[in-house]
């Protein structure tokens, strides 16, 4: 496994995923779309953690443990974020970021 795939290849995939997620989070107008971008970024971080664990120190559990923590955080973030999106939708009747600007002054 580690012989066949170089670590850098995995890292490049993760980096590309992170950049795509960043673009999505910054540019999508839909709040749910923003959330999806953030999920992609978290995923890329997880790939990095697992890859480093696998290639560098497979006998220690720090990598997978932190990956699990990140998955936990992602789940919590998704739940709270989506609850907020629903609350926002109920208040403003829209989920577009541009329209949700009451605090702009």
């Amino acid at each position: 496994m580690t012989r066949a795939i170089p670590l850098e290849a995995v890292l490049v995939v993760a980096a590309a995923l992170f950049c795509i997620g960043l673009f999505g989070a910054l540019s999508r107008r839909n709040l749910v779309g923003v959330l999806m971008g953030i999920e992609l970024m978290l995923n890329s971080v997880n790939i990095n953690l697992v890859a480093f664990w696998r290639y560098l120190e497979p006998r220690f559990i720090t990598g997978p443990t932190f990956a699990i923590f990140i998955i936990t955080v992602a789940a919590a973030e998704a739940a709270v974020g989506l609850a907020m999106i629903i609350a926002i939708y109920r208040t403003w009747n829209t989920v577009n970021i541009d329209n949700v600007d009451s605090l702009k002054g």
């Binding site: 066949a4 443990t65 789940a75």
Partner: protein, 218 residues
């Protein structure tokens, strides 16, 4: 099954080629699906592409021999988070024909591309891709920390993290419920039109009475 197939340490060139092909396909799927997530107009389609991306990432974990993480990825991301996202989209359908991206999307694209290019392009270009073979006998499987080690870690060295994660989940659960909570009287049961009408009349009457009392108090 593929997992076991790949895990078998045959020490044979075609096996490596197979793994490389699988990895390439998975990487293409991950990147392609992620691109679709951020560019596709229909939000539901974006969510479905996101699920595809999650699934491909789980498969990537399998090629990295992180079975537990892969299964947790499927369980949590594909089974729960994507469902949550789909639910949120369906509860908040925005009108069609709106602009997909914000006004300054090109700035976001620039930032992303700049990040990718500035940080990784030199690495990609300047790096030599032949990594050294791991030392030791080829046929002997490496000792990997498995799910038991992770479990033991949770109750020993990572116990604080573990508990913080537990508290985080609890807080998120309660917070999500509080944020998305709707008044009980409306949520209890679906009122018929006449019932709604009556209810509104009563609320109005109560409001009038309250204001009358307030006026009297003044």
């Amino acid at each position: 099954m593929a997992l076991i197939l790949l895990r078998r340490p045959y020490g044979w060139e075609p096996m490596d080629l197979l793994i490389q092909i699988i990895f390439g396909l998975l990487a293409a799927l991950i990147i392609g699906a992620a691109m679709m997530v951020v560019t596709v107009r229909n939000v539901i389609h974006a969510a479905l592409w996101l699920i595809a991306s999650f699934f491909a990432v789980a498969a990537l974990y399998l090629t990295l021999e992180a079975e537990f993480i892969a299964i947790v990825q499927v369980l949590v991301y594909v089974g729960a988070i994507s469902i949550l996202i789909l639910f949120a989209i369906m509860l908040t359908r925005s009108s069609e024909g709106e602009r997909l991206l914000t006004k300054h999307w090109w700035a976001a694209a620039l930032i992303s591309l700049g990040l990718f290019g500035a940080v990784l392009l030199p690495t990609l270009i300047g790096h030599t891709w032949n990594i050294p073979l791991p030392t030791g006998p080829v046929d002997a499987p490496e000792t990997l920390s498995g799910v038991e080690d992770i479990g033991r870690g949770f109750v020993n060295e990572f116990v604080i993290h573990f508990e913080v994660a537990g508290i985080l989940l609890t807080v998120a659960l309660i917070g999500a419920i509080v944020i998305a909570f709707e008044e009980r009287s409306r949520r209890r049961r679906v009122l018929t039109l006449s019932e709604e009408h009556i209810l509104r009349q009563r609320q109005q009457a109560t409001a009038e009475r309250v204001s009358a009392v307030a006026d009297a108090a003044d």
